[in-house]
Symmetry: C2
């Protein structure tokens, strides 16, 4: 027998994890719909050329490559890869579908794959929940993104979270001010690690990328509130976004301008933002920004775009740690026992009637002693057990046992169904 | 600019396709839940050893392989692959989780990947909707599978469909009767193509696999109703399944025994079934069977199992061709126009109030002439447009335009929301 295990960084989601997860996804999807976003799904595999060069050098290395099948795969040829995020695929979709009505507001909830070093709570497959607006330069787009993310988190039960807001062009102005306009992305990548490695770590990384010590001093002075030349328009633009977001329902004070916010991805061109919770210390649970040049990389026609991505796995970690998920619902409301071979038909008919009435109904498949069957019902978390014995079958009745409250009653099937529905 | 396209056999699902698709998945999930099945998701990538040797030689060739990242991938080393179905991953899950309460009833709705030759309506990524029961040998399991599949299709609006039922052991008896007990899978693979290539084609394929002409004659005599020695128990078992399925709500006559049903997969060991529609001629839309030895291949402990898989893509093709999908719902109920800069705040607040009331609300991002904005609302399929002009803003009113029925009214925001909700 071969040993059985999963590839590195992969995991199964068993029912106890899936049930709350599906509820969270339903909630998020519902909020996305209310905001008038349209659903999109893209294939797991993209052409390797579509993905490369969009995520920065560190990102490119983490893309999973898939072997060709048929024509050349035997020789190890690769022409496709698993999607790394949902933004680049969206940009490709917009480029390939010039007839899409603009602005195009889409949401997309799908897994992405990154060959990161696996660690606690970080997997190589994880789900992103994205909304994006393509085809408008209006700051209302950024405000819509902040509003929809804020509404989704609020509906999930989040109370204490902050939206950090900055502009990539403000960071570009800092790079220019320290004489390194051509090394913006090195600077951004270093600043992006500030929360993880601290100022000393960032200074070390900057030095490795050839930034002089006095340049780093000037940079940190600006990051800490010093004057940055030539950012008046961008700074005012952030205030407009904040004011629009408030009108759209984001509480005053939730959005804060933060010069230290960098966001690591290559493709941002304007405002960037991320959402952080105070507790637990997990970093951001959502983030995004404006990327006006990405779609043009595919289509030649420039299409402005902006979006926000909710990180489902991190949201889940927070909800678990803060006890926000509540008691796990069971997949089974009523467990129909199998009492005697002579009443099996009536038993199965009772299960069918419960299901037709919308009651989640499982069934003893193996029969055996009633006590053992009731234990199985308990293990499944069923609230009720149903027994159809020969005496009940003769009178057209069933026995409904309350597994939580205790007690049992002889009822008609219709009465039993009503009892179950009322007790929800 | 590089040309932009998708890898072979991949496709995007744009909103017009996604909206009915999500509705179909919700319906199927709802039925699976009512039948007491628990949700499971497994990762897209499995170890290559987990997948190989489970699907037959033809299946093995269609598995997509993924390059290692980091340790060896540069040298073209492969150790993982994309899942090919949902059954083998389930078997692996059961093998790896000996503490799962048995019987384990799970449903799983996820995409799978197969490097088939792409053709009309057949893609290299497609979604399967599976239910399986692990840990019971009772024929009730097969009946539950037939009942849940039948209920799901009925709830989707299917009326004319038939469940073909056979037993792999009946096919094995045929193989034994023609002196080829060791070539069961060659025989099964050939018979499985009967619908596609006809009797002549099957005979040709049998000849290629070394079956003599008189063996093929005997085989077709049995397939057409001739005596098959030693299948009394299996045949009676199929009748039990049919009778249980009826008690569970499957209409009489829907399930028919069919000796010509083969099912191509290696791993079946007992009853097999598939669901076919009369129109259009598309082959099966669901199928499954018992596979009592698959889990044992991973765990050493033998765990009986049985399941059914609904083919979402084919179900969709049928629903489209038969006009079962209805008019596509729009993602936008109300389109909020942007009338004047002076009332932008009131406009955004109106959008926020609509959304808080659960109304799917989109928003003019760019403003411009009202006529152009209303055209955009029309393109989005919005039922209503909302205008907040300076006069209305002063009086605390909004204008609600009925884009379908025509006409418009000045209303308070609360009245407008009520009007939209009542008109649904």
């Amino acid at each position: 027998m071969a040993e059985v295990f999963l590839p590195k960084g992969m995991r199964d989601l068993l029912p106890a994890q899936m049930i709350p997860r599906l509820a969270v996804i339903d909630t998020v999807r519902g909020v996305f719909r209310r905001f008038g976003f349209e659903p999109l799904e893209t294939p797991a595999m993209e052409r390797i050329e579509t993905l490369m060069g969009k995520y920065g050098d560190e990102g490119d290395k983490l893309i999973f490559r898939v072997l060709k099948r048929g024509e050349g795969g035997e020789r190890g040829e690769v022409d496709q890869a698993l999607r790394y995020d949902l933004t680049v695929p969206l940009a490709r979709v917009v480029a390939m579908n010039p007839a899409l009505p603009m602005p195009f507001r889409r949401y997309q909830i799908q897994p992405v794959w990154r060959a990161d070093r696996p660690q606690k709570g970080r997997f190589r497959e994880f789900t992103q929940c994205d909304v994006d607006i393509c085809g408008s330069e209006s700051p209302l787009c950024e405000a819509e993104c902040l509003a929809v993310a804020s509404a989704a988190l609020t509906e999930l039960g989040f109370r204490d979270f902050t939206i950090r807001l900055n502009d990539r062009r403000i960071l570009a102005a800092m790079a220019a001010a320290i004489g390194a306009p051509d090394r913006l992305m090195s600077m951004v990548t270093a600043i992006d690690k500030l929360d993880k490695i601290g100022e000393d770590g960032v200074r070390k990384e900057l030095a490795q990328h050839g930034f002089a010590e006095d340049a780093a001093d000037s940079l940190f002075a600006m990051l800490n509130g010093g004057h940055i030349p030539g950012i008046e328009a961008e700074d005012a633009g952030l205030d407009v976004i904040i004011s629009h977001a408030q009108a759209l329902g984001v509480p005053a004070g939730r959005v804060v301008k933060d010069r230290m916010l960098a966001r690591g991805l290559d493709y941002y061109t304007g405002p960037v933002y991320e959402i952080v919770v105070t507790e637990p210390k997990i970093g951001s649970i959502a983030g995004g920004g404006r990327y006006d040049e990405l779609i043009g990389m595919f289509s030649g026609r420039s299409v402005p775009a902006v979006g926000v991505s909710l990180g489902l796995e991190r949201i889940f970690v927070v909800m678990e740690e803060l006890g926000m998920l509540g008691a796990a619902a069971s997949a089974t409301e009523v467990f129909v026992t199998r009492f005697a071979e002579s009443t099996l038909t009536e038993t199965l008919q009772a299960a069918a009637a419960l299901r037709a009435a919308g009651v989640a109904t499982s069934l003893s498949l193996e029969g055996g002693k009633l006590g053992k069957q009731l234990k199985q019902a308990d293990k499944l978390g069923a609230r009720w057990a149903l027994v159809v014995g020969p005496d009940e079958a003769k009178q057209g009745l069933v026995q409904l046992k309350d597994l939580r409250g205790g007690g049992q009653e002889s009822l008609s099937l219709a009465e039993a169904i009503a009892r179950v529905q009322q007790a929800r």
